[in-house]
Subunit: 772 residues, 2 copies
């Protein structure tokens, strides 16, 4: 599984730097230089347009279109799918000198530098343009998305002529004439356009879903410029004749306000008024003030949650890039938002959220931003009704959470996934347990949490079946998507068992501690008197098959009997298998796409003794081809735990730099937003040995041989714990917040305070330096 | 599984009669009154058009359109599908009196009678029309499709005015403006139109596949009529002013020539010339002569192969209707033709041929028309190249025959069938064995047959896998389509084993008896030296799981462990399950759609002792919901063999009258052409106890309690054997052909000649009369 980096950007601890422009890498760079603030996202495209290969992509969380699926008419198969709509190019700019247009693909560009500054949260670009008339102009662009006032974006374009004075033609606008990358279609219908004193605005609706988006901007220049409004369909802006003075800077600053109204039934007139008001009253803060606030936001983020890696520049840059992107993609602004597999960086995967949210992303938020973690779960609560409808479509009771969704409805148009995979539902239950235990939020648990738990358990009880052997699930697909229509998938059954058990425990606690809440819940979900007993029977008699001799859990019935294939015998040119093998062929052997039994041993690590994990790891890992960007980190974490430090490092290899180094050669399709979360887990859970399920936090840090040391922070019960690991020892302290907190370190209960607790690093926890 | 008849037509031994017209049954009647002659087919629609619900459907074998499928882009999933095109309405007629048009849905119709005459092969209709002006006109229509000159069709329309003389306006034409029933689309592009002395013609091409069809007609009238050509896009005909004389008959006869050119690359100019020549030279036989030939054709068919049932008028009519439709759908005219699941009676199932051809239809032809049987296999030989391409798409060697096809390419757009079902391939091998053994055609076997056998075996060897337990198939779907992605499906494995064995036996015989043919074959298919050994190993170590104690073969790995569902517990309103259950739900239990293990015990009956068949029948039948029209007959045949005469009769119940009585309420969608073949098997193999696999023909007749007796004929080794069964005894004789032939009767070898061999009917072979 050797993956090879395609290194291009400069290595720097706090920024991503492109020196000189490679048009062949344009789409990858656009993805890497994406910005987002949860509310909206924009690819790092060149705002001035031109002939370079580009996807002019700008997206808004929860703004989507729908289309009928072409699947069969069988019952329960989704009839329409949703996909994130490419929206407004609010950075639109066109630049001319003497009628010649700046075009990165055609102009004579003498120098080029693009920088994503992780400390400031800005993307900047500087270039020197030599016109065919021999004039030289330095052009600088800066953009950022306001992290605290998320409907706001800012753009600054500045010009310094080296050898001439004169005039420059600049056109700036908001433009809805964008195309969906896959469907090659414009998604918007114009509703209204308007101009005012120094501002322009346009409002449009999505064609099929009728969601409204207002996009307007005001602008200022540091020189007296003549200008006039420009309009076209779905387009409003200004044409500006900007004076240039040799050696001096001419600057235009654009403050943008983008307002989304997701509800198609809502009054768009109000939306228009809100937008115009923001523009008219100059309600947008000045560029400099906004930029100052932006720096302060990111400064405070890094102060709290920076991960430092000593002696590994590549991973240092990589993990900071991951933290930055995670925070940008989502930080709990709005419970109506979720995290698409590609964040807001491209239309691939349709912007859909998957089980990745609860399984891969949630831990990052649990331990840096509990409000965000809660909001992710509130998203599921807000869409509980859709999950109940979906369960009914599948002839079941309760709630079945979608495999892929934008608005809570199932939008996965592959029935074999949408109808057979239940890890999204059990992941929600897992997330509720994880959140309520880690954050101690019993109000949520006994309210929205318990309601979801009952509905999920109800679904599981109705979807499973009884035989003489007990209760189990038939015709399912587990997280290993290389086996389909299997019986008693170990992951599915085990997760269901845990879901039932946690639901029952929660109900019991409620009955005892909050009888009123219990009564209210029971009434709301019409809890049958015998339902808890049924859940208990299902849990108690859940079929979990394990080889008594080897301790190996059988992934599903019959897995052990499947033909074996030696991964090393597969030519590397066959990867990815989905692209090179006949579809059915991936289902015929014991090959595994991504962890399933091992995923269980990660999620419920405390349920399984080390020797059982070892046996299962040694059995399943060699059968796994990691054809999911989510796979290697989980293996790295388990390898760390099992003292397999070489393997741990090797799987970690590309976790932090998957997109920076375009390991999978598909970063042009957008960032791997959820794998980025796995990189965080890989350090904190993997090397840091943190475990968080079941209500107690524990650490068993180890030190990869390649590193001198590393530090990370986690927020736990109000205390920010800073963990530092070096060969000399492990240090843990409460860096801020609640003064004291109890955790386990290497299995022993420890009370942490502001003074560092320093412990020696166990010998087994130090990686052996290769060849050292 | 009680199915309820919707009886509508009059019961008559030699015809299907509709007395009075029920517009609510229009589509069903159109299907039932379909005519075909293998080359073309036409529904029983009213040629005069009008407002009655109607599918104006006319079809040509192998004339189809194609369309991209909307499936996913995974490798091996078909990207385009084919579907039979609705073609030319060559019966087009419009009738006016005094500007008032005849319309069965709106006119005042005083009497109505429609008759399909099975002895003449004609469809006729008589009605009395009372115009709003108070005129009464008797109108009679007659149509037939020439069975021996299949490009020819005939239509006769006659008028007798009861109470007036005057003129009638008649327009007759060939009209390509037909619509595909599902896609609501016109499929044709006009190429040419022309008129001549008493004839009109139009030629068109299918839009996507470019196949050409010439349709022209000449006409005569028994009165001097004025007329003029009429043309429109895709339409050519004549408007005729026909004189009417009170009490006398005015007749127009139309002789039609429809010529298909399937190859889009062929010169359509030649096709046009051929067509015009036939029309110009009056090359079409006169109506009366053609009709005489038609009667003689059918007379000779019935003389040879009529099945007589004594004491059961319903089944007598039913079985003759089945024989008639089978002969019409296919009789071996052209090896480029095959049998669609709906014959040429409607677009449902896209006109595709399935494994039904070799498994259900072939026996009828084997024992009535060996040339037709051979041609069905030649169809597979002609499309061997496509099957080789398909196997390669599936990353396999050899030849994989399509699940559904019109031209040899896989056209099934459900990947779960197209990629996982191999019964079409093993059915072809079975058909080759069955044909060559029953008909003794070693030239075919050692030529085309052996080449297909090697390629099919090669496919099977490459698609299967080895484990410690032996050789088997993983990720397949057997004929029971309620279980998918299973391992070691008993039917699939067993059929593969038999395929390997028959291939090896054939190769050995060839090497011994026809070394030149063997060498030629080996060179043509590049037979590897070790390939036969590999086939032998696969066969010898094929995994076939059977419970040693009960003798029950496990349908596939894990089947015995599936949750059980009691069929009687399913509300009848849930049927058909495909329409009422969530798609995945049908896969979660031990419910079976149609026979799988039992199918094996029918196809290879001689391999399994009676007690094994009994155990398996008693285990599997109660788990089978027969959600395929192919299912009940197989169960009836096995029930007969096992002496379960009540069950045999009950399953037989609707075999012969499935469409006449619209048992499945979907006859409007077209006739169940392949189930019709199962009705023949149900009598000959079921009650007649005939067995034909393995080279020897045997009979063990029994007599259903409801019948006084029955007779059928089979052609075997050149002898037509007539079998008669009555309570008084069984009689077998050679009725024509080869003078003497050897068969087994009740297990004993008997030599049959022209004098009847009469044997007593064993006591166990007489059904017990219910309540008797």
């Amino acid at each position: 599984m050797a993956k090879v980096p395609d290194r291009y950007f400069k290595v720097d601890p706090w920024s991503i730097v492109e020196e000189g422009f490679d048009p062949g890498r344009s789409l990858v760079s656009e993805s890497v230089f994406s910005l987002a603030n949860e509310y909206m996202g924009v690819r790092g495209y060149f705002e001035e347009g031109g002939s370079v290969e580009s996807l002019l992509g700008a997206y808004f969380n929860g703004v989507y279109e729908e289309a009928p699926t072409a699947g069969s008419a069988y019952k329960g198969i989704v009839r329409k799918t949703h996909f994130m709509a490419n929206a407004v190019d609010w950075l639109y700019a066109r630049i001319w000198i003497d009628g010649e247009r700046l075009d990165m693909g055609a102009s004579d560009i003498r120098s080029f530098r693009r920088v994503l500054d992780l400390r400031k949260g800005t993307l900047s670009r500087e270039l020197e343009w030599r016109t065919s008339g021999g004039k030289t102009l330095r052009v600088a662009f800066l953009r950022f998305l306001d992290m605290e006032n998320p409907e706001r974006g800012y753009q600054r374009i500045s010009f310094v002529p080296s050898d001439f004075s004169g005039k420059l033609r600049l056109e700036i606008a908001c433009d809805f004439n964008t195309l969906h990358a896959g469907r090659k279609k414009r998604m918007w219908r114009e509703q209204k356009k308007g101009f005012g004193d120094g501002f322009a605005a346009v409002m449009a609706r999505t064609a099929t879903t009728g969601q409204a988006l207002f996009s307007g901007f005001s602008w200022t220049a540091n020189r007296r410029a003549s200008f006039s409004p420009m309009e076209a369909e779905l387009f409003a802006g200004f044409g500006i004749d900007l004076p240039l003075e040799e050696g001096e800077e001419s600057v235009v600053e654009k403050s943008v306000c983008n307002l989304v109204q997701r509800d198609a039934g809502a009054d768009a007139g109000l939306l228009w008024s809100r937008g115009i008001e923001a523009l008219e009253s100059r309600g947008l803060p000045a560029f400099d003030a906004a930029m100052e606030a932006q720096e302060s936001y990111w400064g405070s983020f890094w102060e709290s949650f920076d991960i430092r890696i000593d002696g590994d520049e590549l991973n240092q840059q990589g993990i900071r890039y991951c933290l930055f992107q995670m925070q940008e993609a989502y930080h709990g602004q709005d419970p109506a938002n979720n995290i698409g597999a590609k964040g807001l960086t491209r239309e691939a995967y349709n912007g859909h959220a998957f089980w990745d949210t609860e399984t891969y992303c949630l831990p990052f938020y649990l331990f840096t931003n509990p409000r965000a973690a809660k909001n992710l779960l509130e998203f599921r609560y807000r869409t509980l009704g859709k999950a109940v409808e979906r369960a009914a479509m599948l002839d079941c009771g309760g709630a079945c959470y979608p495999v892929a969704t934008l608005n809570g409805e199932e939008a996965c148009d592959l029935w074999q996934h949408a109808s057979l995979q239940f890890q999204p539902s059990t992941a929600v239950a897992y997330g509720i347990a994880h959140y309520s235990q880690a954050c101690g939020d019993l109000d949520f648990l006994y309210g929205h949490g318990a309601e979801m738990l009952v509905q999920i358990s109800r679904f599981l009880a109705s979807r499973g079946s009884w035989t003489d052997r007990g209760f189990g699930f038939y015709a399912v697909m587990g997280p290993d998507e290389f086996h389909m229509m299997v019986s008693n998938d170990c992951y599915t059954n085990y997760m269901a068992k845990k879901t039932f058990e946690f639901t029952l425990r929660t109900l019991e606690e409620m009955r005892e501690k909050r009888p009123d809440s219990y009564a209210e819940l029971a009434a709301r979900v019409v809890l049958g008197e015998s339902e808890p007993d049924e859940f208990a029977r299902c849990a108690a008699r859940m079929i979990i098959e394990r080889d008594g001799e080897t301790g190996i859990y059988e992934q599903h019935e019959g897995y052990f009997g499947l033909p074996h294939i030696d991964i090393d015998s597969i030519p590397t040119s066959d990867f990815p298998l989905y692209g090179h093998w006949s579809y059915d062929r991936i289902y015929r052997t014991d090959l595994i796409k991504q962890p399933s039994v091992l995923m269980l041993m990660f999620l419920y690590g405390r349920d399984f003794p080390e020797e059982v994990k070892r046996a299962n790891y040694e059995y399943y890992e060699p059968r796994t081809i990691h054809e999911s960007s989510l796979s290697p980190s989980i293996h790295s974490i388990l390898a760390s735990e099992l003292g397999k430090s070489d393997e741990a490092s090797s799987f970690f290899g590309f976790a932090t730099r998957m997109d920076l180094d375009n390991y999978n050669r598909n970063t042009g399709e957008g960032l791997h937003a959820t794998s980025i979360a796995a990189a965080w887990m890989n350090i904190v859970y993997g090397f840091g040995g943190m475990r968080s399920e079941g209500g107690e936090l524990s650490f068993s840090p180890s030190l990869p041989a390649e590193w001198k040391g590393y530090e990370f922070s986690v927020l736990y019960r109000g205390a920010r714990i800073r963990v530092g690991v070096r060969a000399a020892g492990v240090s843990l302290r409460v860096a801020s917040g609640t003064e004291r907190v109890e955790v386990l370190v290497y299995g022993e209960r420890r009370r942490l305070g502001s003074a560092p607790l320093v412990l020696p690093l166990p010998a087994a926890a130090v990686g052996e330096r290769k060849g050292g």
